[in-house]
């Protein structure tokens, strides 16, 4: 490692579009994978919709109709995110932050009801929105902009300019979301987003370790005083000890997953969805997928997520600049953490969190924001470089070989769009 290599001055490319980031064909495979995931979710929601509707006392296709509406709204969000120039997103920082604060405040003052047991929702008319989704979006853009600036100003090592603001931000988020909204799952997603973005942005490993320790302490502080969280942890350690009470959902989820067997009991044959497993269409949907489609279907779904992550990772590696890269990093952290927390809980590897499975879970807010996020990645995928782009940030010690832009003249001349396909790198 040539650690002593001098740092180059930052180029304008990190801020705007330089010659290396010409527009080309976007990553359609990413969209294809997203559509596949949405379809899997829709099929499962469709299959259990009549039974769930009957229990809720609404029309047979209530759940499917609502989900399709959400997907429709999500497509609007996707289109907006996909076609609004990404280098202008920065300008949304402040409005989004204000919106997030407002939404959170409204959610906090909205009285709870049996259907909405925590201060997490904003409701108008028949619609409801989880305020934390706006917070995630605001933090995504805000942090990308913030970290990009820290990189540009070479302040990634700075405790005062980088670490402290991040820790303060996490502290505020922790208090509001984990304590006031009692939404530990979303807090975990935000922490993961922050950690991933800071890590990729080049936060010194020592700092990473320190922050990790701080987070661990914070976890203890957040978990121990709340009996319901302690319950969840102890339930998680031994779900079958208390199947009737606090371990009920965990137990029923395991039963659903386990009874699926190798090939599943079939799309029409779910037993656990109806009254046994709470939140069958939302937080527990992975267990229903596992029950219906068995090991083959469940692991296929995990692989689908893996592929989806792989596409995002490729775009991340080839991102045209630090800002866009950090955005993609944040989105991957968001999606993966949410998926892992959700699936991990269903298969008894993590304690239960009230958190949706991206693409699959029934639930309007989740679908709209997930599709908006995919739109953002899709947008950036049009500007990826041909090879792994390590050069646009000047933070790290430069590696010896810089292949960036080597072939750029060729592909620019040919005007052939670059497909961000990892296979080409061989």
């Amino acid at each position: 490692m040539e650690r002593q290599a001098p740092r180059r001055p930052l180029r304008a490319g990190s801020r705007g579009r330089d010659s290396s980031t010409r527009k080309h064909k976007p990553d359609y495979i990413l969209v294809l994978l997203s559509v596949l995931l949405l379809v899997v979710g829709l099929i499962v929601v469709y299959a259990i919709s009549p039974g769930l509707s009957a229990q809720k006392g609404v029309g047979e296709n209530y759940f499917v109709t609502k989900q399709l509406t959400a997907i429709g709204l999500g497509l609007v969000a996707f289109t907006a995110a996909a076609f609004f120039p990404y280098n202008k997103w920065r300008s949304f920082q402040r409005p989004l932050l204000i919106l997030a604060i407002l939404a959170t405040l409204i959610a906090l003052i909205t009285p709870v009801s049996p259907e909405y047991p925590a201060h997490r929702w904003i409701r108008f008319g028949g619609l409801s929105l989880q305020s934390v989704e706006i917070v995630k979006m605001a933090l995504l853009i805000g942090m990308a902009a913030f970290l990009e600036e820290r990189i540009r100003l070479r302040q990634m090592h700075s405790t005062v300019y980088t670490l402290r603001p991040l820790v303060v931000m996490l502290g505020v988020v922790g208090v509001i979301i984990a304590i006031l909204q009692r939404d530990f799952g979303s807090t975990a997603v935000i922490v993961a987003m922050t950690a991933a973005m800071a890590f990729v942005a080049g936060l010194p490993l020592m700092r990473v370790a320190q922050v990790g320790a701080v987070i661990l302490v914070a976890l203890m502080i957040l978990i121990l005083p709340f009996s319901y969280r302690r319950d969840r942890i102890s339930t998680f350690m031994n779900p079958e000890r208390d199947c009737q009470d606090s371990g009920y959902q965990a137990c029923q989820a395991l039963i659903a997953v386990g009874s699926g067997g190798l090939f599943g009991i079939g799309l029409q044959n779910s037993g656990q969805a109806f009254g046994y497993l709470p939140e069958a269409a939302n937080d527990s949907i992975f267990a229903i997928v596992s029950e219906k489609f068995g090991f083959v279907g469940a692991s296929f779904l995990v692989c689908l997520f893996g592929l989806f992550f792989a596409r995002i990772k490729n775009i991340m590696e080839r991102a045209p600049d630090n800002f866009s890269r950090l955005i993609v990093v944040g989105i991957l952290a968001w999606m993966s953490t949410q998926a892992f927390i959700n699936i991990g809980a269903m298969i008894g590897l993590l304690p239960l969190k009230g958190i949706t499975l991206p693409f699959i879970s029934y639930g309007g807010t989740s679908v709209v924001f997930v599709l908006a996020a995919v739109g953002m990645v899709f947008n950036i995928s049009r500007y990826t470089t041909y090879t792994v782009n390590e050069g646009t940030d000047e933070l790290s010690t430069l590696s010896s070989e810089r292949k960036v832009h080597e072939n750029r003249a060729d592909w620019r001349r040919n005007r052939r769009p670059y497909h961000s396909d990892s296979g080409r790198r061989a």
Binding site: R3, G258, L349, T397
Partner: protein, 587 residues
């Protein structure tokens, strides 16, 4: 500016992180394999144990009908009522809940509250037999942990009429006593079956190949031979007749001589089948006429005479010298009623004067002049083989008794014990057995199975009339049948005043025989203070139409139980049949 934290390039950092993501995915897939493949059986069993529910849909129990003149009317019907129950665990404020319940359906607040505060139970019954309206009112209260459950009940349009013949259906839906027990399997029907994967609330989920759905099949409709009017009058007369002679219990039976159909049968005291659970003394459920064998006493004598005549060892006009007592096996056979001392007697005198010595003489004739093995065996053959005593008649009643006829060759004091059986002591039989045997003797010699069922009709409309059956023909020959009938008529005629006939019915054939039976002490021997009064007879025109058996348990009167307590009841019943139920007169 060197730092330990900066030696990783962003791409390296991305790859480390991505590798972590892939590891998580791999761990998940391994975990899925463990849960879904390795532990599949366990979870499948667990899932099925909660999801797969099997229900039996109770079939509707068969209705029971009885004759009312020419038509049949229901005597037992079904009704759906509601049981109010609670799970005390869920009832927070018992006082408020109890008050609300009182407001909705009446009852006592205190009682509800006490029940709701029962500890260590998840199920208490607060009230039974609520109407549908009451059940709906409870539902409107929307009280947590309190609900109603539909329960089918038997209802009895005729009240307690024929209760012991009918029996009842207990809370588990099982027929107990009487017809309900004897025909339980037919009345019950076949339960429908649902086996289904259900949701948590137990509602079957559609579309599952393991689901089973079999409709229940209602129980069979049962039409009794009983006549409601006759039954009612018999019950009233029985009650009054027993009261008249200070007897606490008794029974009566009217049987068609030429079919074996039981037209009326009752015991006193009885019970109300709609409130069977309030009965404290279980004996009240018992149809004593069928289930309580007793030493029948002198009503045995017509059968003894019939056997001797049928064997040809005596003829109907034969006379003999009656010594007024016999010494057999060191025991003395003497007469209970006044016999007028030693003298020459005829066979019909034996019945008319109720001579124990006469019955003993008849038995002696079966042995060629003495009680011996041949006499015992012959008499045993008649009792068991012809009159079918000592075994169940097969009448459609729960707990039918078979009675006891001593073995002719096994035991001590066989001769005196057999002498006793010739006049109805030292053996037991039910009034029904005696009535059926008499019917066979006086109807020309055909033993019809005594039965209560005229027909049963299955839910698909198929009728089964296979209840009237000839069990045995040539019980006695026709000549003997006629002789016994005449002798019993003669007995009534001679004792008309004594038996309480204020006026005779000249155009009808009425015959009978009293019985004043000794009551065995549990420790052996007989009580000297009380007797059971029995009467067995028939009424008809040219031929006996009805056989009547009356039993009066230990009446507290001064005279003979048979003639003073049982005979008047026979007279009442005979009059009732002639006056109200169109007995065919002699033509």
């Amino acid at each position: 500016m060197s730092s330990s934290g900066t030696f990783l390039s962003p791409i390296q950092r991305i790859r480390i992180w991505y590798a972590l993501l892939l590891v998580v995915c791999a761990v998940f897939i391994i975990r899925l394999f463990y849960l879904q493949v390795i532990r599949h059986d366990y979870y499948q069993k667990t899932a099925l144990s909660s999801q797969l529910k099997e229900y039996q849909i109770p079939p509707e129990r068969g209705v029971i009908e009885a004759h009312n003149g020419d038509s049949t009317v229901p005597i037992v019907l079904n009704e759906k009522l509601y049981t109010l129950y609670a799970d005390p665990v869920y009832v927070k404020d018992t006082k408020v809940a109890a008050e609300k319940l009182m407001g909705a359906i009446g009852g006592e607040v205190g009682k509800y509250q006490t029940a709701l505060e029962t500890k260590n139970t998840r199920y208490v019954i607060l009230a039974k037999k609520l109407s549908k309206l009451q059940s709906e009112q409870v539902a409107k209260l929307d009280l947590k942990g309190i609900g109603t459950r539909e329960v089918p009940y038997r209802t009895y349009p005729q009240g307690s009429l024929a209760a012991q013949v009918l029996g009842f259906v207990n809370d588990e839906g099982e027929g107990k006593y009487g017809i309900e027990q004897a025909l339980d399997s037919k009345l019950k029907g076949t339960p429908g079956q649902i086996r289904a994967i259900t949701d948590a609330a137990g509602v079957p989920l559609a579309a599952n190949e393991d689901n089973i759905n079999v409709e229940p099949k209602s129980g069979e409709r049962v039409v009794l031979t009983l006549d409601i009017g006759m039954q009612k009058q018999l019950e009233d007369l029985l009650k009054a007749g027993l009261k008249r002679v200070n007897s606490e219990s008794g029974g009566a039976l009217i049987l068609e001589a030429k079919t074996g159909a039981i037209k009326a049968m009752a015991n006193y005291p009885t019970f109300n089948p709609a409130e069977f659970y309030k009965v404290e003394d279980g004996n009240r459920f018992t149809n004593g006429t069928v289930s309580s064998p007793l030493e029948v006493g002198s009503i045995m004598k017509p059968l003894t005479a019939a056997a001797a005549l049928d064997l040809g060892v005596v003829h109907k006009d034969q006379t003999y010298y009656d010594p007024s007592q016999y010494k057999i096996d060191d025991a003395i056979v003497s007469n209970i009623e006044e016999d007028g001392g030693a003298g020459t007697r005829s066979v019909r005198d034996i019945l008319q004067l109720s001579l124990n010595t006469g019955a003993t003489w008849l038995l002696m004739q079966m042995g060629g002049g003495e009680i011996n093995q041949q006499a015992r065996e012959r008499w045993h053959t008649y009792m068991v083989g012809h009159f079918l005593l000592g075994k169940q008649t097969g009448v459609e009643q729960g707990y039918e008794a078979s009675g006891l006829i001593p073995d002719p060759n096994d035991g001590f004091g066989l001769n005196i014990s057999y002498a006793n059986t010739s006049f109805g002591q030292g053996m037991t039989a039910t009034p029904l057995q005696m009535g059926a045997a008499l019917a066979s003797v006086v109807n020309g010699g055909t033993y019809y199975k005594p039965h209560l069922i005229e027909k049963t009709i299955s839910s698909d409309g198929k009728e089964n009339k296979d209840y009237q059956k000839i069990v045995r023909e040539h019980v006695v020959n026709k000549e003997v049948s006629k002789t016994i009938k005449e002798m019993m008529e003669y007995t009534i005629e001679k004792n008309s005043m004594l038996y309480g006939f204020k006026r005779s019915y000249p155009s009808y054939s009425i015959g009978g025989k009293t019985g004043t039976a000794e009551v065995a002490k549990p420790e052996g021997g007989y009580r000297s203070d009380v007797f059971n009064g029995m009467f067995m007879g028939f009424v008809g025109g040219n031929e006996p139409q009805y056989v009547i058996v009356v039993r009066v348990d230990t009446p507290k009167i001064s005279g003979y139980a048979g003639s003073e307590a049982a005979a008047p009841l026979f007279v009442d019943l005979t009059g009732m049949l002639i006056n109200n139920f169109g007995v065919n007169p002699r033509s």
